[in-house]
């Protein structure tokens, strides 16, 4: 015991020195639990690309330790998530979990991570609960909470003098939470949500609800859809003739990675998100250039979130000198850190959700052009978190 303590003391004393032998030189096992098939497969790949890009910038090592990946396709299927995450933790003995895109999967992961106190970084899933009631010292998020873009848009629309709004979304966590965030800010600033429409995920037959919107005649519509559903919704909205009469606003995923398919029907739509195209941030420009060169793809918000997940891991790992058993020090270092992200630098809240600028963007051409900052350093209220 004494020997152990003195060894630890020695290691702490060596902190900052780059003596290789004092560090844990075995590989860090990173478990990537992401969707590699199905609707969200492009997102899963972008996250992994972003993660690997940061790693490559660090010469393939974090805090002197090489990184080994164990990949699991979570298929965006919450019912398989607990099994998958248990495999990663118990069979593969991963040191850190990265995942996932789908909120339901991320919740199942967070539950297991919390019980086994495995280090976990969420690179996309915005479920409020991950950094709310489910928050834990070992769970971090590099993306956003669903509440954040919704809340920012509520303020923006109320300031524009819009009074009556209909919301429409899929009936599942991400949709509900976006709308709740929106409603909170919008009604606090004097607006009214006259009707909340929703349809089961991932149903894309919108025609009945569009007719309902036309019959209700609100001043504007706020929506949360993503991926294929977002494309179809924007196109159907325009085809139903509503684009001209009732302006459409949304959480940023409505027009992210979907603009090619949406074409002219998306033109002019305002959305809020923690990332935008053509931002004047040096870090972003460098990031985009390298990404485009390496992967022959344009980076998106998911790639940024993957990149930042790697940054969070690196910051924590460096602070504990590669020793992942020191969970408290890891968390303390990450909480103190200012993360130099392509989206602009951000910090993590006590509940480990990014405290970040939410941008207002407008679709111009094939870009989500930055209009301004919708909400500066917006922090999720982390309701239900006892950290």
């Amino acid at each position: 015991m004494k020997l152990k303590v003195s060894a630890a003391a020695f290691a702490i004393a060596m902190l900052g020195c780059s003596t290789v032998w004092a560090q844990n030189t075995s590989r860090v096992k990173v478990g990537l639990m992401l969707p590699y098939t199905g609707t969200y497969s492009a997102l899963g790949n972008a996250i992994e690309n972003g993660f690997r890009q940061y790693l490559a910038e660090q010469g393939g090592k974090i805090a002197g330790r090489e990184v080994e990946f164990v990949k699991v396709d979570d298929e965006s299927d919450p019912s398989k998530a607990t099994d998958n995450v248990n495999k990663l933790i118990k069979r593969d003995n991963v040191d850190v979990l990265i995942g996932s895109v789908h909120s339901g999967v991320a919740m199942a992961m967070a539950k297991v991570a919390k019980e086994t106190s495995t280090l976990m970084i969420v690179p996309n899933a915005g479920a409020d609960a991950v950094t709310g009631p489910m928050c834990a010292p070992n769970i971090f998020r590099s993306s956003f909470s669903n509440w954040q873009p919704g809340f920012a848009m509520g303020e923006v629309m109320a300031k524009k003098g819009i009074k009556k709004v209909v919301t429409i979304t899929w009936k599942y966590a991400a949709g509900d939470e976006s709308v709740r965030g929106f409603k909170e800010a919008f009604e606090k600033n004097g607006g009214t949500v006259v009707k909340e429409l929703n349809l089961p995920f991932p149903n894309v037959e919108f025609q009945a609800l569009l007719t309902d919107i036309a019959a209700t005649r609100p001043d504007a519509v706020f929506t949360f859809f993503a991926g294929g559903g977002a494309v179809k919704f924007v196109k159907d909205y325009a085809a139903a003739g509503l684009k001209k009469t009732i302006p459409l606003y949304g959480s940023g995923f409505l027009t992210d990675g979907t603009l090619d398919a949406q074409g002219a029907d998306a033109e002019g739509i305002f959305t809020t998100l923690h990332y935008a195209d053509s931002m004047d941030i040096a870090k972003d420009k460098a990031f985009r250039l390298t990404y485009a060169k390496t992967y022959k793809l344009q980076p998106d918000v998911y790639a940024v979130q993957g990149y930042d997940a790697a940054q969070i891991l690196a910051i924590g790992l460096k602070a504990v000198n590669g020793d992942l058993t020191k969970k408290a020090e890891f968390a303390a270092a990450v909480e103190k850190a200012k993360i130099d992200s392509p989206r602009g630098s951000f910090t993590l809240s006590r509940a480990h959700n990014p405290v970040q600028d939410i941008y207002l963007r407008q679709v111009t051409g094939k870009e989500n052009k930055l209009v301004g900052v919708a909400s500066k350093a917006l922090a999720d209220p982390a309701r239900g978190c006892k950290l």
Partner: protein, 293 residues
Amino acid sequence: MDFATFLIQCLNALQYGLLLFLVACGLTLIFGIMGVINLAHGSFYMLGAYMAYALAPLVATTFGGGFFATLLVGVVVSVVLGYLLEWGFFSFLYEREHLQQVLMTYGMILVFEELRSLLVGDEVHGVEIPPLLAGTIPLGEMMTYPVYRLFISGVCLLLALGMYLVFTRTRLGMMIRAGSTNREMVQSLGIDISLLYRVVFSAGMALAVFAGMVAAPVSSVYPGMGDTVLIICFVVVVIGGIGSIRGALLAALLIGVVDTFGKVLLPQAAGVLVYVLMAVILLFKPDGLFKAG
């Protein structure tokens, strides 16, 4: 809901129902007549949608283009593909248990998804509505209705009529119906049943591909799009009665109505209403509305 809105919602219901029929009729053909549970039907639908997206530029350079030329090429390709798939895989399944059929066709879903990912990638794509049909008709003061949606409905109706005529009025239809009732007897009458099945399978696949291609401009093209379609297709087939074209049409329209009005009037239950409908119908008619044969 005022009367005008009600009428528009009826139109929505009709249109959605017809679209469902278009996708499901190929499945009921293969399932009902050949007795094969084809889980890959959704993949055929996806294949069609991706063909509408990926073939268009190729067709444009070789034949001068056009949406309808692409449709034609797509259907021809799918008939050939269906013929080969039947010959290579499905023809071994007729005598097997349903479980083995499910296993193989599920495997096909995975293969098709992976191939799609390798060949076209995982992005979401849009397909342009042909300029001829790109217009909209005003409905009330606020809304417009896309002409293309009406076109889809028209195509579905024509197809339903065509299939009905082929089944009831032609020799081929007679052979198919006979084949579904008693395979051996038809064979002993000197009809090449294997060839017949191959034709039916090709037709079923072509219908799914065609549905995917026609729906692509309104549904957009994205990974996993076949999965969601597959489930609702099975609901249509089960409600309608396995193998019955007439039943599939009626079931699709019923689902259209329940889904459309369910979303508006009972939004909390919209997700389950269709399945409640199925349960209720099966309670009273365990074989579906119309059982073939």
